[in-house]
């Protein structure tokens, strides 16, 4: 059963293809063709009309204007980045994906993400899987140092694993790591100065996927020995850049790690990064961020505002990555209220004109996806599920009447025994939903009103997180969210009854179907191949077509705009982080 391999796949350089001034539509078409050609997993990729008849585009793609050829890369210069969210701490313990883009500039993982759920060597040169998939033995790179001078070795890796998974050590405990591996992790042992053996309690085919994610960045053991207050401001990794200074409320200044010798196998050039410094500014206001970018003050913009999408794709180079795992979707309350009846849940699916809503709210920045159980970019995505509930208000009306909601009141809302068919749409303002999302909710509200369903929008303050009373069981009917990851490992994250030995906090629906649980257990132990795809499809069919416990909206698109002076930029297939070690500035 032993399987030794060192993968050397390189990511496709889609960004380098000579796409001449392709508009959004033709880029979409291209992506569709690419996917139709390679996605053996798609059950049907050309049924129906309009957007819903096609597989949503997902690949790391380059849209908009192409950068003029600028010749050979030149080292030096300061890249001004206009970012959105400022983390409270930057030492990788807070795992919102928006923080991960920053961490990726100074932390490195054992393995690096490559397209199609592959991984390639990074801090580990090679690895062996043995013991029926329960033991992973990593051979680490030698002569690598953390930027504080501490040597990188097997002991450092073991310290990271131990601290990540010790819930009592709140300074170092890593909730995201725990979600991924706590259920299977047994031990990490240094069996040689540069050999680490990780033992699992049962096989987990997504283990390496996990390790390739930003939250698994290896920190200096010296950093981990500090109290939380010190670590918060002073992260230390082995990466291409190091943190010089954090001016709270303003920016983080990063500088090149001159001794960087641990680049991942999919790095596109050898040697230290080209850029001297990165000024990573936090500009939450959309107008200001866009203004800073268009006036040339910053050369890299994250999260293109929907209103500026058209201008961005016509004038600048735009990169877009659709993250894997769980896409943007509503949880649908299957255990209480009117949605307890599966016919009402299905009616909501039919009544939601997702294409129209997403096009109107995001103006092309996001791509509609009605399969709310899995992101279109994940291998194993079932496009038939995406097309299952094509917009059909007549069908919705029929289902609602059959469910007993046949009377209409003076306002046109359906009633049953004098009760109005009314749903509460709860969203966490600013954290999960911004103004673009709010527009989408309003469109959903109007769509459902047409078939006689009343929807009330209820924002919760960001300070309450998921502990808001409105998010508790019985208090909501539709709840927006997403879980960014790489692929079908996201099923375990959301639909397993238990996670890291505790009741699963990521699933607000309370829906834990024994059939789904069994399928997920099987999936987690089935290596990539037709069998895995079949299992993934079965889970999607169960969650969306049969039980309708999620209502899909779109993929989670990570968008970047690059100014005319910035070259060599690409997005990691992990979660779309900008890879700045290959980027350089022209005069």
């Amino acid at each position: 059963m032993d399987q030794g391999f060192t993968q050397q796949d390189r990511p496709q350089r889609l960004a380098a293809k000579p796409l001449k001034a392709l508009g959004l539509l033709s880029a979409l078409l291209l992506a569709v063709l690419v996917l139709a050609g390679c996605a053996s997993s798609s059950a049907s990729s050309s049924s129906g009309g309009g957007f819903q008849g096609v597989t949503p585009a997902t690949a790391d793609q380059s849209l908009g204007a192409q950068q003029p050829s600028a010749g050979k890369p030149k080292p030096g210069g300061t890249l001004n980045v206009a970012w959105v969210q400022e983390p409270e701490c930057i030492d990788a313990q807070q795992d919102w994906v928006q923080n991960g883009y920053l961490y990726s500039q100074y932390y490195e993982q054992l393995v690096s993400a490559a397209p199609n759920n592959k991984v390639v060597p990074w801090l580990a040169n090679s690895w062996k899987v043995s013991n029926g998939g329960k033991t992973y033995t990593f051979q680490l790179k030698k002569n690598v140092k953390f930027t504080d001078g501490t040597p990188f070795n097997a002991q450092a890796v073991v310290t990271n694993f131990k601290d990540w998974l010790n819930p009592k050590n709140t300074a170092d405990y890593n909730g995201y790591v725990a979600v991924y591996i706590a259920d299977v992790f047994k031990s990490a042992v240094a069996t040689g100065p540069y050999t680490v053996q990780v033992n699992l309690t049962k096989p987990d085919v997504f283990f390496l996927d996990g390790l390739s994610q930003y939250a698994f960045g290896i920190a200096s053991p010296k950093q981990l020995s500090q109290p939380a207050g010190v670590q918060c401001d002073h992260p230390v990794g082995t990466g291409a850049f190091k943190v010089d200074k954090w001016n709270h409320g303003q920016d983080i200044v990063l500088s090149r790690n001159k001794n960087w010798n641990s680049a991942p196998a999919n790095e596109r050039h050898k040697g230290p990064a080209y850029l001297n410094k990165i000024d990573w500014r936090f500009v939450s206001d959309n107008n200001t961020r866009w203004g800073a970018f268009t006036s040339g003050q910053s050369q890299l913009l994250y999260d293109i505002p929907a209103v500026d999408w058209k201008q961005a794709t016509s004038r600048y180079q735009v990169l877009r990555h659709t993250t894997g795992a769980n896409p943007l979707r509503f949880f649908v309350a299957a255990k209480w209220g009117p949605l307890k009846d599966v016919r009402v849940r299905q009616a909501v699916q039919y009544a939601f004109n997702d294409n129209l809503a997403v096009q109107t709210a995001y103006r092309g920045e996001r791509i509609p996806n009605k399969n709310g159980s899995l992101s279109p970019s994940s291998p194993g995505y079932d496009n038939a599920v995406n097309n299952y509930y094509n917009y059909d208000p007549a069908k919705a009306e029929k289902l609602l009447s059959a469910a007993g909601w046949s009377h209409r009141n003076a306002q046109g809302y359906r009633t049953k025994n004098g009760k109005v068919l009314s749903l509460r749409l709860v969203y966490s303002a600013d954290v999960v939903a911004d103004s673009d999302d709010l527009l989408l909710f309003q469109i959903l509200q109007q769509e459902l009103q047409k078939v006689g369903i009343k929807v009330t929008l209820i924002p919760t303050p960001p300070s309450q997180g998921w502990a808001a009373p409105q998010d508790q069981p019985g208090q909501w009917d539709l709840n927006i969210g997403y879980w960014v990851g790489r692929s079908a490992e996201g099923f375990h994250t959301l639909w397993s009854p238990k996670l890291a030995g505790q009741p699963n906090p990521n699933n607000l629906t309370g829906y834990f179907d024994p059939v789904v649980t069994k399928l997920i257990n099987e999936l987690d132990q089935t290596p990539a191949g037709p069998k895995q795809t079949e299992l993934a499809h079965k889970i999607q069919v169960q969650l969306v077509e049969k039980d309708a416990v999620v209502l899909g909206v779109s993929g989670m698109q990570v968008t970047l705009a690059a100014g005319p002076k910035l070259h060599g930029l690409w997005q990691s297939p992990d979660v779309g982080e900008p890879v700045l070690s290959d980027a350089w500035l022209s005069k």
């Binding site: 313990q93 807070q94 795992d95 890593n174 939250a215 001016n247 998921w466 505790q502």
Partner: protein
């Protein structure tokens, strides 16, 4: 006959000052108490909040972990005990520790207070310059500076939201005309647009009250007598009349400091400036209660101090109050 008067006057002034300071302390104490109650009564589980934020919002902490956090932050003590130690801490200048950044609130505030103070006071000065300038040029005369249009513009500037003004100024002068930087750049240049944004509404308010007072003072007999003594119109307006009319402006400045301080929250956001505003919005939206209450207390303190200073200034500007 004249001997005891100065001493009594000194005693009276000291007593007056003591009363003002005592009432200021009272206001701060009330603010601190409300802040404390908000902390303890509205948050369901502060331990859960702290834990969630630290580990990434996706775990349910075990009882042992929650107990450890409760103990570390003293949440397991009685509310009265927590209140006494909170107020006691404040008296010693201890504002507590940020839940999410794990360092003292005071150090976080000190880091960010400078730019906000600079913005607040430069905006206040600019507002005064605009208001006094327009008054000297226009009040009591019939020219463009006293026209209905000028008056309307003043009302308008007092009533439009600064968030909107800021965005418009930014788009015109920074994004399109490139006269000022959108982000950062030369600190003096970067100050200009936010300062104007903040000063405009305040200058509108100031201008309205100063001009009213100025116009009525112009009709006072002392103006006629000054003129008859041969003082120029400019001299009369700047030396005699202005001194009368700035009094209501001073009163308003006490309010303006508080207004500017809180308005900085929005303006700093628009111009992406460092400052206390960003700290407050972030702390309040994420539930970092000690940090948010620290900033709120500081704003209250700024308000109280500004009003005491204004009261003292009054005495200097208006000699009648010295009696």
């Amino acid at each position: 006959m004249a001997a005891p008067a100065p001493r009594r006057r000194g005693v009276r002034a000291t007593r007056w000052l003591l009363i003002r300071v005592a009432s200021g302390v009272g206001v701060l104490w009330a603010a601190a108490t409300i802040a404390f109650l908000l902390q303890t009564l509205t948050q369901q589980s502060r331990a859960r909040l702290i834990y969630d934020q630290r580990v990434g919002n996706n775990s349910i902490p075990s009882k042992g972990v929650t107990a450890a956090i409760n103990h570390q932050y003293g949440f397991d003590n009685s509310v009265l005990h927590q209140y006494v130690s909170y107020i006691g801490g404040l008296v010693h200048g201890n504002f507590g520790v940020s839940y999410f950044q794990h360092v003292s609130v005071w150090s976080l505030i000190i880091q960010q207070i400078g730019p906000t103070l600079i913005l607040t006071f430069s905006a206040l000065i600019l507002a005064w310059v605009i208001a006094v300038g327009l008054t000297l040029l226009g009040a009591g005369r019939h020219n463009i500076w006293s026209s209905a249009i000028a008056n309307f513009l003043q009302m308008l500037s007092a009533s439009v939201p600064s968030y909107w003004v800021g965005t418009i100024l930014l788009v015109i002068f920074a994004v399109n005309l490139h006269i000022f930087p959108v982000l950062g750049g030369n600190p003096l240049l970067a100050l200009v647009l936010p300062m104007i944004t903040m000063a405009l509404p305040v200058s509108g308010f100031l201008g309205q009250v100063i001009q009213d007072e100025f116009s009525s003072a112009l009709e006072q007999p002392f103006v006629t007598s000054s003129r008859s003594r041969g003082i120029t119109d400019f001299g009369v307006r700047t030396v005699h009349v202005l001194r009368h009319s700035v009094l209501p402006g001073l009163t308003l400045s006490g309010w303006a400091v508080g207004y500017l301080f809180s308005n900085a929250v929005l303006v700093e956001q628009v111009f992406d400036r460092a400052g206390i505003g960003g700290v407050l919005t972030k702390a309040a939206s994420e539930g970092d209660v000690p940090l948010a209450t620290g900033v709120v207390l500081l704003s209250a303190a700024a308000y109280v101090i500004a009003n005491i200073v204004v009261d003292i200034l009054y005495v200097f500007v208006d000699p009648r109050l010295r009696a």
